[in-house]
Point group: C2
Chain length 386, copies 2
């Protein structure tokens, strides 16, 4: 089990705090946005007397409401196509466990969400990376690059759309290209779509489940964590029209008995969140993104990808080793008693040596804090060089 | 991933209910006991505005309170020895994932909690059963029986104490025997102690963590589910003084990010549950056990183990195939429009053909319902034969 690049610096951040240094957390996708009141209230007003197991795959009621949510996003599924999970993490774990045996391979465009590697390793599966480039804004690599990597052990291609850590949003055309290759080689196309709502600049998100002819191959990983700013709920789901896959995945769900009951109450209520909530949140993130990107661009030697979705941004820094630099910012550096925690990008690559001069920043803090964070980063870069 | 013997009959039970038949659920350890008010109130009175990730291994505060709980149970550990998990299920999954590679083996006295098999399979690990017998009340098999099964791939012995499904409580002497063998062969001794408080007839529970000289080998799996009748919380923990093991297990915890936040609030508050709650619950379970066992013993041809802990009871029935019988009770049979759901014991054995005439019953219902359930079972047995 590889170490989480998002969490491995946590002890250094804690030490910095103990020394009285304020730490701006751009390292983790933990938004400061308020959870919809309707979800919070549902839990506060619960009338549970015996906190019982929930149904392993989620209640009929919740899954029915989810089908309505998906229908509103151009995804037509039934309750039988949905398994409720303990976060998107568990959805991924069950998916990989269900479609692979030890020794199998999954192709993933890198940089990718670091825990894809962890969950694959836990299942004895090898991640085969196909590199996407900051110069291209991390667009889908050429389809020939995928094809070259396909072996008899390849079981799936896994994408995150919009992307963590890249912020890239795959177009319908790019999804169509992936469709051709997965159909040709009989692979699953797993799409982590937990940032579906976070689509900016007028772009429309394309779900793999909205593409005709992909129904036997498409698996969607979903979660309430980012959508409703309720990362601590730990509710997600698997959505697929492939019956054999769902039958296997349900066995994993049954083995762990039940998703968390209180969180299910919050998640079901959250489905009635008014559209105005999402409009406000999106406007807020667009402003934050614009702020972060433009502030970063002012620093000499810093190159920034232009994120179109989610709330992450990969930046290239004028340093050789961001693992060392990020640790140094927490261990040694401070600027007016403040510092910044970022995620070194090496953890988002499985190709050795890639991403060593990149970092991921999550723009989950308010505008003023982002401006301050970049100012701290700028001063840190100057001090680190000296 | 094998099918859960506890859950596989669920669709048949649902069909029975749709036909208007009342189903008594003795198939699953879902107690009807109320959750401590202090835990329920803590959630209702929460002041969360943004439902954030919890710390991957659980907060310092909760783990500190847990060390006090353990100290009261003769288990001296520090916060660094504890990783909070999403239920005992996840504690088991992380433990097996941390100490094994694909192809390794774990020895488990059978019958055993069916999901041990599921979690092992998910990690590519083979369960090697050592048989315990209903005639011996499912006491620890002879230590030579374990020794015969140890190979170079054996990584651990796993026990459940008190036992699900057996209700057997291992004595201090039995744990000492296991100590000798795990030290001799450098194995882990994993003890699922989630039923620690459910010890009857004056017996005292012995934790593997209370045994001198076992600190590097002992791993405890724990959970709030049964202790506080809050199965739906999904909070458990791993406890071990083996630092290398804990370091690895934390990586699994970080990969799944966080245990569920609302459930942590309930679980932390539950630690202040007054002793009177446990006294009442224990008295209730003893009465239920005595009722169930004595009622079962009245049926000709039924043999019952005498459970000393937990809230399960294995019974041998005068039928050849309890898988078929249990399904038939749901599908075909009813007695005054009522029937009983039990867990066929074959799912608790990994030796093919074992336990085919046994069932597991959870005495988690009130006395009158248990009496009714056994009456239904008696009539079902008569009708099934005919």
């Amino acid at each position: 089990m590889p170490e989480s690049p998002i969490r491995k610096l946590v002890p250094f951040a804690e030490n910095a705090k103990k020394r009285g240094t304020k730490v701006y957390h751009l390292n983790i996708g933990q938004p400061d946005i308020k959870t919809p009141q309707i979800a919070l209230d549902a839990v506060k007003n619960n009338t549970i007397e015996t906190l019982s197991y929930a149904r392993s795959e989620g209640s009929e009621e919740y899954r029915t409401k989810l089908t309505n949510y998906y229908a509103n996003h151009n995804i037509n599924v039934t309750t039988d196509n949905i398994i409720v999970t303990t976060g998107g993490s568990e959805a991924l774990l069950f998916t990989i466990g269900s479609i692979t045996d030890s020794g199998d391979e999954i192709i993933i465009p890198e940089p990718f969400y670091a825990n894809y590697n962890g969950f694959s390793t836990a299942s004895g599966v090898t991640v085969v990376p196909v590199i996407s480039k900051i110069e291209d804004n991390f667009a889908l690599p050429k389809i020939e690059d995928f094809e070259k990597l396909i072996t008899k052990n390849t079981k799936a291609i896994l994408i995150c759309n919009p992307g963590n850590p890249t912020g890239y949003m795959y177009s319908k055309e790019e999804i169509q290209k992936l469709k051709e290759i997965v159909l040709k080689h009989d692979l699953f196309l797993i799409a982590d779509e937990v940032y579906r709502e976070f689509a900016y600049d007028g772009l429309k998100h394309t779900s793999v489940l909205s593409i005709d002819g992909l129904q036997d191959n498409a698996i969607v990983i979903d979660s309430v964590s980012k959508r409703y700013s309720m990362c601590g709920a730990r509710i997600g789901c698997i959505v697929s029209k492939n019956e054999a896959f769902i039958t296997t995945a349900i066995k994993f769900a049954q083995a762990r008995l039940s998703p968390p009951t209180y969180a299910l109450i919050a998640s079901e209520a959250a489905l009635d969140t008014p559209q105005s909530y999402f409009d406000d949140v999106k406007a807020e993130y667009v402003e934050r993104r614009d702020t972060l990107v433009s502030e970063l661009q002012k620093i000499e030697g810093v190159k920034v990808a232009n994120p179109k979705g989610a709330f992450y941004c990969v930046a290239e820094l004028p340093v050789n080793d961001t693992d060392d630099f990020a640790k140094w910012m927490l261990e040694t550096f401070n600027y007016n008693n403040e510092t910044v925690m970022v995620a070194p990008a090496s953890g988002f690559y499985s190709t050795e040596g890639e991403g060593k001069n990149q970092i991921r920043m999550a723009y989950v803090l308010k505008k003023e804090d982002l401006i301050k964070s970049v100012e701290i980063l700028k001063n840190a870069l100057a001090a680190y060089k000296a």
